[in-house]
Symmetry: C2
Subunit: 294 residues, 2 copies
């Protein structure tokens, strides 16, 4: 990984973790529920989404005292979706990132409710910003709701489920990903841009960047599922192949998928041409997404 | 039922239903998801929560073009909680209000996601008010999140689940209900008060009213579970007794529960003394809650 990006991550991940902890421990809530929520939030992962929010601000050279809270709100949404996704009635996964899934530890009922409360906590976080105008904060609530609800992430999960029963065209596959993972990634970028005070033109460019890295992220996931080992992934490798799910490699072949990945990567970088520095953090993230090994 | 209240309900329920429909059909989302969301939202029920929001405004003699949207947002939260509550891993109910529960019709995975997306839609509704200041709208988002999340409704559901395994004291039972159902009812009243421009003192009185009708509502539910027939309830009667769950009648006896109900009713009415009319809609609702037969 690029040294500059690695330093950025090493610096910010503990701050994100601390903010997440703070958002979930203030005030009274039943201990078992809080433990279940914290378990999955602490299970970690790469914190790509919150880091992207922070990267936008960094690239604009703008500081916002609320950036960490907004960044963490996205991670709460992401975490809730993983908990529900892992449930027996959904993907029925026992492990996630090498750890037992939430319902294996706390039981299904608590896992459902922990997911529910994490979603609520995300909106609570956005409604409790202290250094952002009410207009901007409300715009963030609206954008997060659009990105994560029936027209965004949750809609994408339904499309994904339905897609498992059929063989999808490339267009249909991208439709799934643009909703299931792309919408929330786009929120990260747009939220960062709003906090940074970006203009409409810049926001449009950044949306296009987000769309491209979102698709690149998914292609890379599909490729890794074919090429990485179970140990590297922390979940069974080739799980997509086993289920005969449509993926980029299954539709385009492994080499075709890699070419497509490079295309989206190039597109993403081009969208950043308006930024002063030619090695922006957003560009480094685009590089990281295509180069990562897990 | 009181004629004045009946007319109020007959007038407003179709408006609430139409607003709910509108909130869930704008823009693109997968058809199966939308159908699942609409199925439970249309399954109806008494619309007590949205009607309470509107009743506050009526009692203050204030009109708000956003009142229906705020009222419907609460109903979306209530509906999502019912869908998740009915899941096999939670209460495992096949019927709700005499109709098949969501997961019996659409499958568990879709039911989980429909609940998730209904929660999101509620926050989206509050973030999309057109005639309310951003400050007020953001306060509503924050209050709804507090009322419905880990410290409110969802926390109450956890307390309720844990309570089923133990015999509760009256204080513990009230703690469950103040969270599980009371928090969202309080939101209705406070949201109406905010839209009506009530002052701090009035809001404090109304919060106390809400607390009292919330507990009254639950005692009445418990009493009806003992005294009503399965047909009247649309779900198996005596379901609480069968599960040996702590209830007001089990702790206080049926007569003791009725006395307690009357106490909360009286308290609720007293909180409304600041209102000009001595037969306010909120007072009529308090009467209705203790007198209803289902």
């Amino acid at each position: 990984m690029d040294k500059q990006l690695e330093m950025f991550m090493t610096k910010h991940i503990p701050m994100i973790d601390e903010q997440l902890q703070q958002l979930l421990t203030g005030g009274y809530s039943p201990i078992s529920l809080r433990e279940s929520m914290l378990y999955s939030v602490k299970a970690g992962g790469k914190r790509i989404r919150p880091l992207l929010v922070l990267a936008v601000l960094e690239d604009f050279g703008v500081q916002s005292a609320d950036a960490l809270k907004v960044a963490s709100a996205v991670e709460l949404i992401h975490t809730y979706s993983l908990i529900h996704d892992d449930l027996p009635c959904m993907d029925d996964d026992d492990y996630r990132r090498g750890q037992l899934t939430n319902h294996k530890v706390f039981g299904e009922a608590t896992a459902v409710l922990a997911g529910d409360a994490l979603q609520t906590a995300a909106f609570n976080a956005l409604a409790s910003l202290e250094n952002t105008s009410a207009e901007k904060a409300l715009a963030l609530v609206r954008l997060l709701a659009e990105a994560s609800g029936a027209k965004g992430m949750v809609g994408g999960q339904i499309l994904d489920m339905e897609g498992e029963k059929a063989s999808l065209s490339l267009e249909q596959l991208e439709e799934v990903h643009l909703h299931k993972t792309g919408a929330l990634l786009s929120f990260c970028i747009e939220a960062g841009a709003i906090l940074a005070g970006a203009n409409e033109n810049q926001i449009a460019q950044l949306r296009s960047y987000a769309r491209n890295i979102g698709l690149a992220f998914q292609i890379k996931d599909d490729i890794l599922d074919v090429t990485a080992t179970t140990e590297q992934l922390g979940k069974p490798a080739n799980s997509d192949t086993d289920s005969e799910k449509s993926t980029y490699p299954s539709l385009l072949g492994l080499e075709g998928a890699r070419l497509q990945l490079e295309k989206y990567h190039t597109n993403a970088i081009e969208c950043l041409s308006f930024l002063p520095s030619d090695k922006s953090y957003l560009a480094l993230f685009a590089d990281y997404i295509v180069q990562r090994e897990l």
